[in-house]
Symmetry: C2
């Protein structure tokens, strides 16, 4: 646990939280820890919930910010509505991670979705979310949501071929618990268990501060899936805020094949996503395009 | 000065800097202050330069991060190339603030620009930039750049009608030194001194953490200029990173009137901006559009 205390001229001493990030050193989001509501060690990780005056409730996993009341809608909008606008007739979905319930909250808004398997390794994350993040976790008990507390990597390995229309990987960073969810083996299983028009979405990390991780994801996923593109969202409480998501599919293009009219007819209320923003979010800053191009060159050199 | 010291389990004690932000409480970007290179009080503000292992050199004005080596290109690309792509034949430009020199560095890349008046209130900002940020400040002495160390508000009031093609307002936040650069009076002077096809660009703050400031800028500028739209960039070291810029003009539309072919023929090297990103950056997240719409409604109610 890293905690800091003011030694300066502020009116009263405050405890500031900064992340203990194995991958990003010397920089963090800092939040005052105004009130600690929950702090336990699960079988897998350290879980803490505290209140901050600006971001509301904040969940930490192993001292990394996972979700906050103020900005959770960005991540959850972008990771769910983007694939759903490309495949609005999706019926069976696999969600890996996402223990706070935000992803399934968005998915159950689609009446056409019949079955969601949600595979979260750590039951205590769901329990804490149910207790402290009721607006995020509120659909965890929806009839269409089938919660499985097990390892997502093993679940994908054991799942039958061509089972899912969409797979959403809402993982932690590629250290400790999350590591297996960034491997070629796991991505290959995802490919196998996706249907012909299937789409995989994953959180693909931060080009400003984790360029090598971003390039690695790009290399692996684009070597397995015929279609692979990154898109972006802005998440203030994640390192550097410029966050990438990966869109991998067997044939559908994330922009050419999107169905904005069909999506807009559903009348869903979103706070970040729109069909115009969907298109715009696939237009990446020049340095990110250069980074992804160079990851291909690295691969070419190896070949 | 707010400084924090680890009391936790890190290998060695580190000094972390967090912003002392009058407008945003309980949240900050945190950077380790690895080496302080400069710290002086000018006539106007406290100026500090330190080194951080991830972001390189960092300049603080009154304990707020103004510029860092790692991410300065985002701000400077977006605030200069966006108007220049809409009016690539601009000849005379007024830059207000921007003491680090990043804005004029980008502007002098355009051979068609004949004259840049740069009005910075605090000479010590330029001096510190020349010494510690050579790659940012390197064009401050360009023949076409006319540096004036004076108050931008007064400069605009005294300037003749229809003098400039583009005005770029690269200000601090609307507190202390920067406050006058967010008033209706100042914006009206800017309107008056702009030519018929003139464009004003300003930094328009952060919708996640400063919604009222964003709405105020929107209300004021759209009451004065026939065309006003916000666009966005992602600046990791500014609060919440989602940063708005304002595009105000007498007649030119920022997207319909852009000249991507003309701009691309210039062959300028950019790291964030591209003509595709230009268009995409005017597509704002749903909650930002709602915020801006509600600022119009506030105005309607008053009328």
């Amino acid at each position: 646990m890293v905690e800091l205390e003011n030694k300066g001229d502020s009116d009263k001493p405050e405890t500031w939280f900064i992340e203990k990030n194995e991958l990003v050193k010397g920089y963090s989001i800092a939040l005052t820890k105004d009130n600690v509501l929950f702090h336990e060690k699960s079988e897998f990780q350290d879980i803490e919930v505290f209140e901050n005056r600006l971001f509301g409730r904040v969940m930490l996993l192993d001292d990394m910010i996972m979700v906050t009341d103020l900005d959770e809608f960005v991540y959850h909008d972008m990771i769910t509505h983007t694939p759903m606008c490309v495949k609005p007739d999706a019926k069976k979905i696999l969600v890996i991670g996402a223990g706070d319930g935000g992803v399934v909250r968005e998915l159950v808004k689609y009446p056409g979705i019949e079955h969601i398997d949600m595979v979260e390794i750590d039951k205590m994350v769901c329990d804490a979310a149910r207790e402290f993040f009721p607006t995020i976790s509120r659909e965890l008990d929806n009839d269409r949501v089938h919660l499985k507390f097990q390892d997502g990597v093993k679940f994908a390995k054991d799942a039958p071929d061509s089972e899912y229309d969409i797979i959403i990987i809402d993982s932690t960073d590629p250290v400790s618990v999350g590591e297996g969810l960034f491997t070629k083996e796991f991505y290959s299983d995802c490919y196998r268990i996706l249907r012909d028009e299937g789409i995989l979405i994953n959180q693909s990390e931060a080009p400003f501060v984790l360029p090598d991780v971003v390039k690695g994801i790009h290399r692996k996923l684009s070597s397995i899936f015929p279609v692979f593109r990154h898109y972006m969202g802005i998440i203030p409480t994640y390192p550097s805020s410029l966050w990438l998501f990966g869109f991998a599919s067997k044939k559908l293009d994330p922009v050419k094949d999107m169905k904005p009219d069909e999506w807009n007819q559903l009348g869903l209320k979103t706070r970040y996503y729109s069909t115009d923003l969907h298109k715009a979010s696939f237009v990446l800053p020049a340095f990110v395009n250069d980074m992804l191009d160079s990851s291909k060159e690295d691969e070419d050199k190896k070949a």
